[in-house]
Structures are given as C-alpha cells and as structure tokens.
C-alpha cells in the first residue's frame, strides 16, 4: 500500500568521479527517485565498491552498460530511467543502448561530440516515445525561468541585443602539463575534447542559456577562437558575434583564462522596452530595467515571480538557493513529466521544462559553426 517511488540506474559516477555524485545529490534532495542499479565504472570491482557504499543489491551491479540495459529491461522491478554521467565521447552509445531497451534517459552535457549523433538520439527517443533530458544545469535556476517568462510576456519588448558571458580562470596557466590534472588534460586534448575546448565546454552553456531564455534562433556567427596559453592545443578564450533570425544581435565571450572568475555565466538582454540581466554566481536575483524606470532587483519570491518559475522554489526568498537546487530542478521537471507519462497522461509543454536532445544537438551545431568561422578568419557562417 505504500507508494512505490520511481527507481533509476546510473552509468558512470564511480569512485573519484565528480559529476555522478552531483546527479545523485540533485535527485536525493527531493527524494522522488531511488537509485537501484548501476554500472559505475569500467572496472567491475570499482562498480561493486561504489554500489555497496550506495546501498545497492549486488545483483543489480553490472559489468557493462549493455548488460545493465538488457538485464534491467527484463526485470519486473527494473529501473524507470537511467542517468548517464560518463565522459562525453561515450554518451552516444550508452544513451542509444538504453533508449533501444525502452528506458527514459537523462544524460550529462554535451550530449554527443557531433551534430549527427545528437540528431539520431533525438529521433530515436521520439520514435520510442521516451523522455530524454540533457543536464544543462543552469537553466534550472528559478530566476532564469522567470527571465524567460518575462521575455515571453513581452515585458522588455522585442529583443535587440544580448551580451552573454561565461568566464573562468582555471586554465590561465598551462596546467595540462601536469598529468595528474586529468580534467585539464582531457579538456585541452583534441583527441578527447574534440574540435573545441572553451567554446565546447562553456561557450555552449551561453548558447543554451540564451536560446532557453529568449527562444531566439541563431542565423549566423562570426567567431574568433584564441589559444592564449603557450603550448595549448585547443581554444581557451573566444569571442563570438551572433546574428539571430529576425534581427536581434549578440556577442558572447567565453574564457578559461580570466583571472578572478570561477563559473561566471551571465546574460544581459536588451529589448525595445527594457532589459533584464542575471548572473550565475549570485543566482537568486534578476536585474530589471523598464523604459523610463529605475533599476529594480527582483529576488526569488512568490510575489515577484510568475507561477511557473515560482513552482521551482523550495524555500522563501532570503534563503539562497544554489547550484544543487538548479540541478535538482532539471530532474524535478523530468521526474514530474515521467510520473505523468507513467500514469497514462501526457505532460504539457510547460511541464516538459528540461533540456532535450534538440537542445543538445543545437549546442553541438553551435560549436562546429564557431570553429568553422574562426578557421575562416571570423567569416560569418550561416546555421
């Protein structure tokens, strides 16, 4: 008679991994799904070690993701969805395997390393009628959702100009020359990171954020990708001029050599009737200026927010919500939609408020076009 909670499995996220634990914490915060199966590592002993610590039954710890997908598909009490938190270049085959076995999927970003694979996953999920979320965390912030609603409702008029930024300092030195700095090593190596490091890792977050908040589609880009540190093999800084369909213009700056910035994702959006801006490092506030009025700072609070963004708030204003809550909001949208689906309903567009393979594919496309433009000496490249 007790309600059965949703269960999920995880691929990746074993000992020493970072983002897998973030996924588990984000799910744990709301407690609406229980981890029940896993293939946490390519090494089975490590999967066993992690699984025990996490309190899983040994029979649901797997040697490979294919074994896991097949075995869980056969179980009566098999998982409801899988979370994929492995390195980027493995997302495609793993996601494909689970989709084919009929599982809903949550996958870390970037979705794949090329546009074609991203499109394939999109098609496959659609064909199978399965939910698929890509964890672009930052769109999970309630303030970001509020900005989106305000723009949708015309509060700043027609968008004219967008300034997007994601600045970091962690690659300001040639830290990849220290082999123990694995994060730096793989990010800056074309073999593992693909055609771009900085635009790929963080520029794509700017693209996704602006796309989410404004609903605009990019028409063309003119980009200059820089390698600022001696010996670096991929871009660590980039400026991208953007022309959107219908007239709006923008500029993105992303950088990993910007001393003083940690994860300084921000947007400033200027319309015909006002402007709105937000910064990830102080995410509970929106700055609004309307034509002829003074600057107003809207805090996360039910009165200032529209209903939809307000529904993502867990605690009243003045008690800051942060990154984990934003991450949990991606899962909370996904799980709510899944519950509706499982109970025979169909989630509304508003309820499907999480990034999908379409968004993931857009991100990969964006990266490719920026690199192409930069290679052509910043020529404008059409989308």
């Amino acid at each position: 008679m007790k309600e059965k909670k949703l269960t999920y499995g995880m691929v990746g996220g074993g000992p020493g991994a970072f983002i897998g634990d973030v996924h588990r914490k984000a799910i744990g915060l709301d407690g609406k799904a229980v981890l029940s199966a896993g293939c946490f590592s390519q090494s089975f002993p490590l999967t066993l070690e992690a699984g025990k610590k996490l309190g899983l039954e040994e029979e649901r710890l797997y040697r490979s993701y294919t074994e896991m997908a097949e075995a869980e598909a056969k179980r009566r009490d098999g998982i409801d969805f899988v979370s994929i938190t492995t390195p980027n270049n493995t997302h495609y085959p793993i996601a494909k395997a689970f989709l084919e076995q009929g599982f809903h999927v949550v996958c870390d970003k970037p979705l794949t390393t090329n546009y074609d694979e991203a499109l394939k996953l999109e098609k496959l999920a659609k064909a199978k009628g399965l939910l698929f979320a890509v964890t672009y965390t930052y769109t999970g912030y309630p303030a970001v959702k509020q900005a989106r609603e305000m723009i949708k409702n015309g509060e700043i008029g027609d968008i004219r100009f967008i300034h997007g930024e994601y600045s970091q300092e962690w690659l300001a030195e040639p830290v990849e020359q220290d082999p123990s700095n694995k994060q730096a090593v793989w990010r800056t190596d074309p073999k593992t990171s693909g055609i771009s490091n900085c635009v790929g890792d963080i520029g794509s977050h700017v693209e996704n954020m602006i796309s989410y908040v404004t609903g605009l589609e990019i028409d063309e880009v003119s980009a200059r990708l820089d390698k600022m540190v001696d010996g670096r093999k991929l871009d660590d800084n980039a400026v991208i001029m953007v022309n959107y369909k219908g007239g709006p213009r923008g500029v993105f700056w992303c950088s990993q050599i910007a001393w003083g910035h940690d994860n300084d994702l921000s947007f400033r959006i200027y319309g015909s009737k006002g402007s709105i801006s937000w910064r990830q490092e102080n995410p509970n506030y929106l700055k609004i200026v309307k034509k002829g009025e003074s600057l107003t700072i809207i805090s996360r609070g039910r009165d200032a927010y529209y209903d939809h963004p307000a529904s993502y708030i867990r605690i009243p204003a003045g008690h800051p919500e942060g990154y984990f809550e934003a991450f949990a909001n991606i899962y909370s949208s996904f799980i709510t939609a899944l519950e509706i689906k499982k109970s025979g309903g169909e989630p509304s567009m508003e309820q499907l408020d999480f990034p999908t393979p379409v968004d993931g594919a857009k991100g990969v496309h964006f990266i490719e076009k920026c690199v192409e433009s930069s290679d052509k000496k910043s020529a404008w490249v059409k989308f």
Copy 2:
C-alpha cells in the same frame, strides 16, 4: 553485503508543514540516512497519508511520539536517530521521550521555551551518552565555519567590536489580524510564542551565530524591545547592546518590520588586526580586511579555506551553495559523528561541529535576559 545506511524517524513534518520537509531534503541531499519511521501529525490519518507518500511501511507509522519511541526501541531494525520538527512548545517532552528510550536526537530550534528545560535535555543526553543536535541552520555555511577558524587562528587579532543583524520585513504590517496567516498568528501571540517574538525567533540566531564564530561569552546585555505595529502583542524589533566577557563589545539589531530585508542575517567582526564580515543572503563570500591591507573577498574555494570548513564544500567555487546545503551540513556533522560512535569510536571536538543543547540553552537564556533588560528600561543585566 551491501552497507546498511543509517535510518531515522521523524516527529512532525506532516501535510502542510514546512520545516519537516526542509529536514528531509537536507538529509536526502547527501543520502546518508533513510527515513524509516514517523509520527508526522497528531492526526493518525494524516500521518498515514504522509507516510505512504514518503514510501514508509505502515507498521512504522505511529499514533503518538511515545508509541513511536517505545516501538522503535524494541525493533531490531529500529531507527538510529529521530528528527523533531514540531512546534516549539512540544520539543521538550518529545526530545525527552526519545532520549529516555536511548535514541540520538536532532531537534529544531529554539530547543525549548525556557532555560531550565534546555539544561535538563542537555544533562539527559550527556548522561545517556547520546548525540543531540539543534538545527541552528546558519552555522552550517562553510563560509561561517571559515570565519570561525580564521578568528580562532588569530587572523584578525583580539576581537573588539561586533555588529550583528537579522532583519526581515514579513511583520511590517499587522498580518496576524488575518487568522489564515498561521505563522504570523502564533509568532505574535505570547501564548504560543512565549515572552518574545522577534528576539526569540531571529535575535537568538544572531546570538548563536556570534557565539559560534567568536567563541565569546556574553557578560551582560542592555536591550530595548519595540512593538512597532499597532496592536502587536510582542516585540517586532529590538536593539541589544552586548558586553562580552573579557572586554569585547557588540550591538545586535533584529527586526521584522524592515522593508526590503528577507532573512538578512549578517555579522561584522572587528579585531585588533583586522575585520571579517559575512551576509547570509550572499553566503559564499567573506569580506576580510587586514591591518594596512585592502579589502579581500574570499570565495568558497579550497585554496582560501582551512581544511575543516573546506570539508563541508560539495562543489567548487563559482557554483553557489545555499540554505539547503548549510542545513545539510548540520546533518552531515551529526551523521558523521554518529557513524563514528556506532563503529565504536569517539568523535573529536572538531567532528562534533553542530549546535547542541548547550547552545540551545544559551539561546533561551539570551532571550530571557533581553526581555528582562527591556522591562527594566534597558538596564544592563548580567548573565
């Protein structure tokens, strides 16, 4: 063979309750303890309803806290600790009942409504060798722990002056006259709230925070409690001058009529060699000024932090941590200490980094002394 996780029960936190859910989320974030029993409401049907939603077995849902304490004590797989999230005036008997049955306890603040009861709980827990945490959330912020370590290490020299503040706006209007505003009704009614509203609810947070960060003990206070809104029965604003043992001085301001403030808890501490300040509404940063140097802003990041506070960080700097993470840190300290105890060890002072009944008793004492001083036209009252 899988590791058995700790289990806990909850008293309070049924349908419509607020803080119980915050406790569950805070525990869920790290996933180190599983909710297994509960008496969520005085109404058993409501307890059943909540319990089912939370996925509990019916046999572990109880009609009363006494029944729960006794039954769980008899079970082999009984809970490891209980979380008490009921109204203030019930904390004492509930905590007592569980302590007497040998359970470790986490209890919401304020611990009790008078000093004597707080002392009794303190003694009882000690006598039984049980852990007892009081959830003064705000000391769970890593930046607060870092401030404490810096002061302990003499980085700002001997403390001279402290400015503490907790300002809110939610009682700036006579909202208690609307009976549906239950929070306002009980907070402003002496029958349910005791001798003080504002000092009791938020002034005590200032007292606890300063006590935690500085280690100072109050010698005497001179207070003026104000009723600023017509018809209000208890204080909604207060200024408290504080003399600490050994010479330091301070002033606290707490207010519920301060338009523009939500939960604006802050401290600024001035020593002989520097100063340090922090604000809860932007909790990931500390402002430090050292003699002859410019203002430095330390972000939550492993390099700037001492080991102990750094151990409470879940995600690198630039990704904000907020209120839930602070709350979870109280539990994480408590659970870690409990695990050590259960495996036969004895947690160190550093590991016992959570508020205890001693702190709870101090808070109650503080409230009583402030009211006494205010009643004597701000005479200095000794502790």
Copy 3:
C-alpha cells in the same frame, strides 16, 4: 558693467592645513565667489606666503582675525562673507567677531565645543539678520536631499526605525603615540577635543544627517562609549540607542577602529510603508523598497528626483558626483541665499537649505547627552 561676483575672506587654511583648501575648491567649482582677503595662519609670514600663492593683494592679508574683521568692515569693497576653517576651539570667538562686524559666516563643524556658545552664535546671527552656515558636508549630496523630500512626502509612511552608522579605521592602532600624527594627537586628547572624540567627530555627523533627512527630534539617548585601544584617553567607538519624539526608534553606531571602513557614513530608514537607504561611499544611489514591491535603486537623475534635489545636480546620471560637489552644494545654497538677500529679497525655507547654528547647537547637545548617558552606565538621558 561686468557683474561683480561675491567676494569672501578666509580665516585658517594656511600652508599644511587641509580643510581650508577643501572650502576653496568647493567654492571654486561653481566660481560664484572670489577669495579676496585672508588671515590664513597665526603666523603672519605664513599668511603672506599663502596669500601670495592664492593671488591676493598684500593689503588684504591680515595679522589677526580681529584686524581682518574690522578692516574689511571699513572697506567699500569688503568681503561679503567669511569662511572659518580653524581648529574647533577657536570657532566661537572668530565667528562672533565677524558677526559683530556684520559679516555673513560659513564655519566648519563642529560649530563650538559646547552647547551654550552654539546657542549664542545662533542668537547673534538672528539678531543681526545675517546668514550663518555650518559645513556638515554630507547633507549636501543630492541623493540625501532626495531622501529627505521622499520622506517629507510620505513615500515610506511614518518612520519607525533608523539605523545610522559612521565607521572608520584610522584609529584602530594607537597612532596618537606618534607625535607627528597631529590629527590623531589632537583628536584623542581631551584638552583639544573636549569630552568626546568619536561621538564628537563622527557620531555628530550621524545625528545631523538623520535630523536633516527625517526632521525627527531626539527625545532621549542611551549610549555606551568605548575606548578600544590601549592607552586611549577618549572614546573611539560608540553605540547609541535613540528614542525620537513621537515614537520612532533608532540605533547609531560610530567607530574609528573598524578595519575596512574609511568614511562609511550610512543610513537606513524604515517606515510604515517602505524603506530608504544611502551610503556616503557610493553616494549617487538610493535604495528604495516600498510595501509589496521589489528593491529599486534610484540613481541621481532628473526624472527620479524631485525638483529641489535635482537642482543640485551638475551633470547627468552615470557621471558620478562626489564629496567636493556635496561640499560645493552647501556653499551654493548659502551663496544663492546671500545673493537673494543682497538684492533685497528674502530666501525661502527651501532656499535656506544649509546647516545652521541651530544644527550645530543640536550636534553639541547630542555629544554632551551621549557622554552623560555613557557615564551613567547607559541610562536613558532626556534631551
């Protein structure tokens, strides 16, 4: 046929002096009065040296202020007003001498070292029909004037609580033990500074600012004056609880041992319908919160400002105005009123927007009452 500008003389402000030059610059900014006579030092050679540098005629450089007052009174082209920028304890006789000779006076703050003398100057100026300004600079900021108008117009309702602060760090060490630090030596010595250092020097600025902005009158104070640095003879830190006539309450904190603060004068005023706050170190902005609305930040700009404060703006918003402009505004009010008087008119209350001996007397009174309260262990002392 060219218009004759007003001329002024100065007492004090010779070589090495600081504030005299600030007065000259403040007047020079608008260029509405020309320096024409002076007694810049007790040493005549130094007066000569300064006078030459300033381009004055030798015949209008004087050996004493009495000589100057008499001689200028006899000249056809004698000065229109005098600026007194000498040490505090000399203000009274100098101001008296010039008033008696019929000169309008501008005098640095604090006006005198005791209440009686301040009242006498007030009476004398009134009796003679002369203008008398005291340069409490900070009320010259347009944003401060705007705050005053907003409060007058009821925009934040009835005032309930005021938090006033003036914090500095310059006396955080025993710098007065270095005889070459003259400023520190005289400020901390009762012989030259009177009964109070910190309250006298900066606490009085808080009192004056709040009085100007709110129009409230103090009913009683309860103060604790601290000597935080070993060997210090006068207060360097103070907390003052204030009860205003009619019900409003406040707390002032002033400190010279607060590492990290330079001239951190600020106010936060909470009314029944909103709040308003301002900080001298970033003086071009007001923070406004109205009942049920979000925080608004009003910049110095004609649209957001009422006419009277807007009339003190010299340059559109976005180009910061600072301390000199505030200082110049005191003079600009004074000179405008003087021009009206000289052309036979009578300046309106609004035009007389500068601090007067009444304000100076209030300041001296405030200092005396705070010291009295502190001496009586913070007893409430009536005004």
Copy 4:
C-alpha cells in the same frame, strides 16, 4: 608681488551650452587658471551676456574666434591658453587659428572629424612647441592612472584579453524625431555626426581608455555596427573584435540602446599573472585578482596607489571623487606642464599625462576602421 595666475580664454560654452560650463568648473575646482577672455557664441550679444555673468571685461569678449586669437596674441596680458568647447566639426579651424597665433590649446573630444586634420593639428602643435590637450575625461580618474601603472609594472603579467564596454540607454527610443532634442538630432544625423554615431561618440572612449591603460596598439578590427531603432540613420550599437599588435585580443561593446546604463564605461583586463577591472560609474575602486589569490578591491588611498596616480587625489579614501575631479585632473596635468614650460623647464613624460592630438588622431582612425570593417561584413581591417 602677488603671484600672477595663468589666464585662459574660451571658445564656445555660451548660454545653454553644457560642456563649456563643465570645463570652467573643472578649472575652477583647483583655481590655478582664471577665465579672462571669450568668444562664447556665434552671436555676439550672447557672448556679451555670458561674459558679463562670468565677470569678464567687455574688451575681452570677441565677435569671432579669429578676432579673439589675433587680439589676445597682441595683448601683453593675453591669455595663456584657450579652451575649445564648440561642436566637433569646428574644432579643427579654431584649434589651428589659436596654434598659429602661438597659444597652447585644450580642445574637447573628438578632436576632429577625420584622421588627416587630427594629424595636422598634431604636427602644428609640435612644430610650434605648444601644448595641446584633448579632454578624454575618463583617463583623468586616479584609479585609471593606477591601473595603468600597475600594468606597466607587470603586476598582471603580459596582457592577453581585454573586455571594454561603454553602454548607455539614451537613444533606446527614436528620440531624434523630436526636433527639440538637439543632442539626439545632431548625434544621429550623418551631416553633423559624420560616419558614425555610437562608435564615434562612445566607442572612441573605449579605444582611448584601453590605449591609455595598456599602452597596446591595435593591429586590426572586425566590427559590426548596428542600427537598432527604426528610422535611425547611424549606428546606435556596435561590437568590435580587436587584435592588438603582439598578440593580445579584445572585444569592445558600445551601445546607446542598453536600458539601465547611463555612462557605463568599464574595462576588464586579463594578463598572464592577474586581472584588473574598473567601472566609471563607481570610479574610486579597482578590482584586482592575482594568480592564486582572492579578489582584492583597492580604494583610492595613498598606501595602495603608486606615487603618480596618488598625486591626483584631492581627498583621502572614503570621500568619493567623481567626474568633475577626473576632468579637473586633465587640466591639472596640462596646467602643471604649462607652468613648467613658462618657467623655462621641460615637462617630463610623466608630467605630460593628458591626452594629446596623437590620441585624438588615433580615435578618429579607429572610428574610420570600424565603419570600414562593418561595411565589409565584419572583415578584419588592418590599421
């Protein structure tokens, strides 16, 4: 025997003019030069009116700038320098006329409307041995000078990336359609404003600021100039990618349609060892981050500043200096250099710390190249 102060004349700045009065106030603040002659308007009656108000002798009020240049050159007590504050397109002939008559010149920015004329003025001043300052105000801020010294001294290492911005909102609506808005009318009209409005008016300030602070020279630009408001004839928004000689990269954004910004000039400069940033709207602070260290905020204060920038401070830290003081610093450098020259000396490079025609010419060149690039669909254009 009294020291003769320098005297100056002014062309422009008559009734209703804005910037002429700013020049007079900036000079008046320090009082080191006295206005003695003028041709304030093309209408002689208006010149007479202005001159009388300013206290000038009628014989030194002129019908034309040529008459003024000739007449003053013949006088024994002729002016020492002239300040030109007329519309942009008249700067060239007026400056030329005064240079040819042997006068030192201060001229408002932009120096001329094309590169050639700017170069000619530069040559002429050099040939005649005359000082020539262009009032790019913003480089007068002490914090800007401090940033420059810090970069020169290698404190942030080799420069890698620069983010420059100047954002405003005043043209966010088609305000030029109201003929009474003269400022908007002439700025947006190619006939009076030349080939660019936004880049010309404010983009050039970014270029000048970065050039001053870093000493870098632009190698090539890729620009996109936008017309965001319907019916607008010239650019009101622009993004400019910049490649500097020797490798550093940058991006400038300037905009007049950015709701919420007044005169939001800022720079952020990232080097191999640290970063430094500054914002004109809060100009007394520099943000510094050094490799491995936390953010430090340096206030205008003698201890944190190098000697040269410190020499431009008029009042200790905590008392904000603003736009007029920055403006006055351009004049103070110019006048100091002039005094040295007049006393037979030769000012050092450090003393010649004001913008010159070389800088003015660079600004004009920059505008031309940006327009060229934008016309070629953002092609990179060499300097």
